[in-house]
Symmetry: C2
Subunit: 119 residues, 2 copies
């Protein structure tokens, strides 16, 4: 960019960029959260959990709907948990999962980035 001595070249290429909209650190952190949603199985799991009437879903009821093995589902639930999208709670032998609305809201807000474009 900015070739050597642009004489007539000033208007054509680009309007000046906006200010730094997302630094490297923030983007890395957010990317991890979005990465948790980048798998169909995890999306379905989260969807099932979030849409549960009681707000909680037993892990034992999550393997069948997604059609994956129990270790696989456990792995995906761990990813969702580490991304802060769900929380787990032991209830006797079982583990109940619950969505974290605040985290979902945070991601929603990031996707509203185009709103920040002034003028």
């Amino acid at each position: 960019m900015t070739t050597s001595l642009p004489l007539l070249v000033d208007d054509l290429c680009c309007a000046p960029l906006g200010l730094d909209p997302l630094d490297a650190a923030s983007s890395a952190q957010l990317a991890q959260a979005f990465k948790a949603l980048s798998d169909p199985v995890r999306l379905r799991l989260l969807s099932i959990i979030a849409a549960a009437p009681s707000g909680e879903v037993c892990a034992c009821d999550l393997t069948a709907p997604v059609g994956k093995s129990q270790p696989t589902v456990s792995h995906h639930l761990k990813v969702l948990r580490e991304a802060g999208l769900v929380t787990s709670r032991k209830h006797g032998t079982w583990v109940h999962y619950r969505a974290v609305p605040e985290q979902l809201a945070a991601l929603r807000q990031v996707l509203a980035m185009e709103m920040r474009a002034g003028t």
Copy 2:
């Protein structure tokens, strides 16, 4: 909450799941969109594009901010384009990228899944 540890536990593991909140097809399609956001470089690129005052950003001005090689940036822009998050427009020698607000809005709506939980 409520009473804890019932003795004859048989059916009480889980409250019945909600209805199918996200079928396999939808989740696959959505996962692809989120996957496009699951990389820090792509997030920054989209952020820069979306926050541009003019609404468009030349590809030539996108390599420096993310600190990646030009082919790499081109690759990421292609991913964003195929995910429907940005559109490209040739302007002479340069290519200008523009965010797609509708797609961002669609993803925001998906993240509002917990709102669909009735009761």
